[in-house]
């Protein structure tokens, strides 16, 4: 069974790096760089995991997450959030919005892989 991850990130270089890492782990990686239509893309792709940047054009990652959690069947979708603004306030906001894991840029590749693995394991166990 193929595992699908949806990567929503507007920085092409960062997206390429994550795609490289996860593809090698056996993930099917889809990318999207726009915030405003992210919800529809997530619903259409039906991924096993979502990696979400906070600063996105059109709509911020926080809002996307909050809206997503309000949708039917999306409450338990694992969401890994990445932000370049390493402030504690952002972390709190993300946790309130229902984030699964929160990471600050720049991150090590190992951290990303560990987080993805953990989240997927939790999701399949439950």
């Amino acid at each position: 069974m193929s595992r699908k991850v949806l990567l929503i990130e507007d920085e092409p270089n960062i997206a390429e790096a994550i795609r490289f890492l996860l593809t090698r782990e056996g993930w099917q990686v889809e990318t999207h760089a726009e915030g405003s239509d992210a919800i529809q893309v997530i619903q259409g792709a039906n991924p096993d995991l979502v990696i979400l940047d906070v600063m996105l054009p059109g709509k911020s990652g926080m809002e996307i997450l909050r809206d997503l959690r309000g949708l039917e069947g999306m409450q338990n979708l694992p969401v890994l959030m990445l932000t370049a603004r390493g402030q504690t306030r952002d972390r709190e906001m993300a946790e309130n919005a229902g984030v699964s894991r929160f990471m600050t840029k720049p991150f090590s590749n190992a951290e990303v892989l560990t987080a993805v693995r953990d989240l997927h394991a939790q999701a399949t166990r439950s």
């Binding site: 507007d10 920085e11 270089n13 960062i14 390429e16 790096a17 994550i18 490289f20 890492l21 090698r24 760089a33 726009e34 600063m55 054009p57 059109g58 370049a84 603004r85 390493g86 402030q87 600050t104 840029k105 720049p106 991150f107 090590s108 590749n109 190992a110």
Partner: protein
């Protein structure tokens, strides 16, 4: 035959009865009972103090001498009463609304509260009243003498009796007229007593008349025949005297102090005039109905040479009807006492208010300490005034010898008091009447009256016979009874004609030539427009004339400038041609609001109400209030200025605080932005460097590509740091400008080549070199940096298929203006205001940079003394760079 003692007892008993009535009426009024005390009937009867002993006795005497001429004295007041609707009603309304205490007070109030005028009127009234009081003394003394002649005891002595009569009347007037402390209050007791007296005298005269017609003559028919057969049996009236006396009595009816007292001061309800308008003429008619019959019968029955002035007494006596004679005596006594009481009251009020009080007050050291004992002073002043007035009457009687006919003395008094008429009528109906006019008119009339009537009437006592016959210093044209050589006139007609016409002329002329004070003008408006003030029940209504008063009032409160501005604006809004607006309800409401902003709503309403609506506050009070509030306003405006200053300071502090907070917030968000901008390239660098380190078997292409990404992101970091440093230097103002001169065209050349160098972009730059030959003197590198930024922005963001950047330069109003316009889709309107902010980026493209470029451009242009703006509506994105002329001129 009634003895003198009985007569005196009857008189005393009658006086005691009057006291009882007055006392009871006062008690009832104080207890709030007795509405009939304020009824129109009582009011009408109280007016009958017009009929004094002179009319009671003298009318018959006059009729016996001149036939129907006596009736003029009654017809004048009848005409006045008939014109109550536009005459007396106004007088009463003014008197009540101004709370006047006497005719002198009214005149002085109308002409700006002038005490000089009040003193003049008071003196005139006292001089006119003195012979009149002497007349009452004479009539009572004469009537006593009639009984004394018949009294066998023979105790009667004329001289002492006059003195005792005078003293008794003075006592009586003091006890009656000054029982109440406050002259402004109505004297219910006195008025009721007077009403009773008027019934007594009417009853007495009618009783004698009925006795004469039916008892002596034997019915109406025989009476008429007897009248026609008598020596006065034909219509024989001098036209001049007839009209003059009607006019004179009408004038005196209004101007006499005692008439003013009962008609205006004691008036409880304006509506009473409606009843009095027919009831008082009826009273006068009844009083005069039997005068001719009594005179005719008296002439018939009594021996030749008997005094016709006493026919009312002597006719019943001659017929042996003692009780009727006694009743008639009481009637005459009634007439005299009521007249003396009211005259003394009115005159003493005037004397104490306008003569004694001003003198007394000026002798008091600290006028501010005047307090309760003023009432005692007033009371004493009034009592002394009454005594003095009575004494003057007594001496006049002694001086004139008591010989003149009653009626002529009365007419002399009438002519004197009528001198007030022009000032009174003019004051009520003509706003242009002034104090100066009233003063001069009164003086002229007064002097002429004394010169032509009073002095010649003294039988040479005060005026030499030579002056009377040849004029002063032999100037014939100044002969007292033939002024300007016009001879042959009746002395009375002569006096009335000259004094009143010259009085009126002087009054009008001086009024036209003089200029009234503001208070006079205010009072004039109050008097003349008294009905306008008091009719409108709700909403303001006024006449144009009041606008002037409103203007005066407003100036006192708002100050001259703002008041004039406000009024002119209102007048313009109304489209009027004058500078004063019509006092429309709307205007008055706005004015009230305007004033209430300064003095408070209630005061403003009261002030406007004072001018256009009726109110009992006196104008003087109001002006004092206005002056006071002007002072208060000045004080409070100082306070206001201070508090305004305080609130300005507070506002500045608040602004500073907000600014600081904003700056701190901006700093936070700037740091957060910087953090984001730094972390993003670092994330890529770290991720790809880890990939290259940890991943085995990367293809050479992959290795090259990832190394290139790391390299690009490292450059991006460097650029960002450069920009940040640059911006921080520019913002802190520590930038050193390297000024040098070159043409705009050269600067643009370098910028275009530098921006397009090493780029595969297809951007076409269009320039008009002709217009670029503008010499510049500025920091050329910094300016070039701005140009490069704009060109590379166009290069990056212009989304047209064939991107074209047009650079055009102009010289506009001494400024160099350079426009950079591309043919892309431009910047959306909502983002246009943001483009010069730090980290502001339009669209999602992050490749360009951190979004500091335009912020730096803005800072640079500020340092160079110019500006950079976004030009909306140019199709694509367009920026305008302006450089000031000064830099260009410096280069030349």
């Amino acid at each position: 035959m009634a003895t003198l003692n009985v007569l005196i007892l009857v008189c005393l008993g009658y006086v005691v009865l009057l006291f009882g009535v007055a006392f009871a009426a006062d008690r009832m009024a104080a207890a709030g009972r007795g509405a009939w005390l304020r009824s129109p009937l009582i009011y009408t009867l109280s007016l009958s103090i017009y009929c004094t002993a002179w009319t009671f006795y003298g009318a018959v005497g006059n009729a016996a001498r001149s036939g129907l001429e006596f009736v003029t004295i009654y017809l004048g007041p009848t005409l006045v009463m008939l014109s109550w609707w536009w005459g007396l009603r106004k007088l009463v309304r003014v008197g009540r609304s101004q709370r006047v205490t006497s005719i002198a007070d009214l005149i002085s109030s109308r002409y700006g509260k002038s005490n000089t005028l009040a003193i003049c009127v008071t003196i005139l009234a006292v001089l006119g009243g003195t012979p009149y009081i002497a007349l009452q003394l004479q009539s009572i003394t004469l009537s006593f003498s009639i009984f004394a002649e018949a009294d066998p005891s023979g105790l009667y002595r004329e001289g002492s009796s006059v003195f005792w009569v005078a003293a008794g009347l003075a006592m009586f007037a003091i006890l009656f007229g000054t029982r109440n402390l406050d002259a402004n209050e109505r004297h219910h007791g006195v008025v009721t007593a007077i009403a009773l007296e008027s019934v007594v005298k009417l009853f007495a005269l009618i009783a004698v008349g009925v006795f004469v017609v039916w008892g002596v003559a034997g019915g109406i028919g025989p009476m008429m025949a007897r009248i026609d057969a008598s020596e006065i049996g034909q219509w024989n009236v001098d036209a001049g005297r007839w009209t003059t006396f009607i006019f004179l009595s009408a004038a005196a009816f209004i101007c006499l102090p005692r008439m003013f007292q009962v008609m205006v001061v004691e008036n409880a309800d304006e509506g009473h005039l409606r009843t009095a308008a027919w009831a008082f003429p009826l009273y006068l008619l009844l009083m005069s109905l039997f005068v001719v019959p009594i005179a005719v019968v008296g002439l018939d029955l009594l021996p030749e040479g008997s005094n016709p002035d006493l026919f009312v007494l002597t006719v019943p006596l001659s017929q042996g009807n003692d009780w009727l004679a006694m009743l008639s005596f009481i009637g005459g006594f009634s007439s005299a006492t009521s007249m003396v009481i009211v005259t003394a009251m009115a005159l003493s009020t005037m004397v104490s208010n306008h003569l004694v009080m001003p003198i007394w007050l000026s002798t008091q050291e600290g006028s501010g300490s005047v307090s309760g004992d003023v009432r005692n002073v007033v009371l004493v002043a009034r009592r002394v005034s009454i005594a003095v007035i009575m004494a003057m009457g007594y001496y006049y009687y002694r001086l004139s010898g008591g010989g003149a006919a009653l009626a002529s003395i009365g007419l002399v008094a009438f002519a004197g008091i009528a001198q007030i008429l022009p000032a009174l009528v003019g004051g009520l109906f003509w706003r242009g009447a002034t104090r100066t006019g009233a003063l001069i008119g009164l003086t002229v009339g007064f002097v002429l009256w004394i010169y032509t009537l009073l002095l010649p009437g003294m039988d040479g006592a005060l005026m030499p016979q030579s002056v009377l016959q040849n004029g002063p210093f032999g100037w014939g044209w100044l002969r007292p009874q033939a002024l300007f050589g016009i001879e042959g006139m009746d002395p009375m007609v002569h006096t009335v004609m000259w004094s009143l016409s010259l009085n009126a002329f002087a009054f009008c002329a001086a009024s036209l030539l003089s200029f009234p004070s503001p208070l006079e003008r205010l009072q004039g408006a109050q008097f003349v427009n008294v009905f306008d003030h008091s009719v409108a029940p709700r909403g303001w209504s006024g006449s144009v004339a009041q606008s002037e008063d409103l203007m005066i009032m407003t100036q006192r409160i708002l100050g001259a400038g703002p008041a004039q501005e406000f009024f002119q604006a209102e007048a313009r809004a109304q489209g009027g041609r004058t500078s004063l607006p019509e006092p429309t309800p709307g205007f008055l409401e706005r004015l009230e609001r305007e004033l209430s902003g300064s003095v408070g709503a209630a005061t403003a309403h009261a002030m406007i109400g004072q001018i256009v609506g009726g109110s009992s506050v006196s104008v003087e009070d109001l002006l004092a209030v206005a002056d006071e509030s002007a002072q208060m306003l000045e004080y409070s405006s100082q306070l206001e200025a201070k508090s305004a200053e305080l609130s300005r300071t507070a506002r500045k502090l608040r602004e500073a605080n907000t600014k600081l907070t904003q700056i701190s917030e901006q700093k936070d968000s700037f740091l957060s932005q910087v953090s984001h901008e730094l972390r993003t390239p670092m994330t890529s660098i770290r991720a790809f460097s880890e990939i290259m380190r940890d991943t085995d078997g990367l293809t050479p292409e992959e290795q090259t590509r990832y190394a290139a990404i790391i390299h690009d992101e490292a450059l991006r970091l460097t650029r960002l740091l450069d920009d940040l440093l640059d911006l921080s230097v520019l913002e802190s103002g520590r930038v050193n400008l390297n000024m040098s001169g070159e043409s705009l065209s050269a600067v643009l050349d370098r910028a275009v080549s530098s921006a397009l160098a090493g780029s595969r972009s297809t951007l076409t730059v269009r320039r008009t070199r002709q217009s670029e030959r503008i010499p510049l003197h500025t920091d050329l590198d910094r300016l070039g940096q701005v140009f490069i930024n704009l060109i590379s922005n166009a290069q990056k963001y212009c989304d047209a298929e064939d991107p074209v950047l047009t650079i055009s330069a102009h010289d506009v109003g001494g400024q160099v203006v350079i426009d950079f316009a591309d043919n892309g889709s431009g910047i959306p309107p909502e983002a246009q205001s943001m483009v010069f902010e730090k980290f502001a980026r339009v669209g999602g493209d992050k490749a360009g940079g951190a979004g500091l470029g335009l912020a730096i451009c803005r800072e640079i242009m500020q340092r160079l003394g110019g500006e950079i703006t976004y030009l909306p509506g140019q199709g694509g994105a367009a920026f305008r760079v302006r450089l000031p002329m000064a830099y260009r001129q410096a280069a030349q």
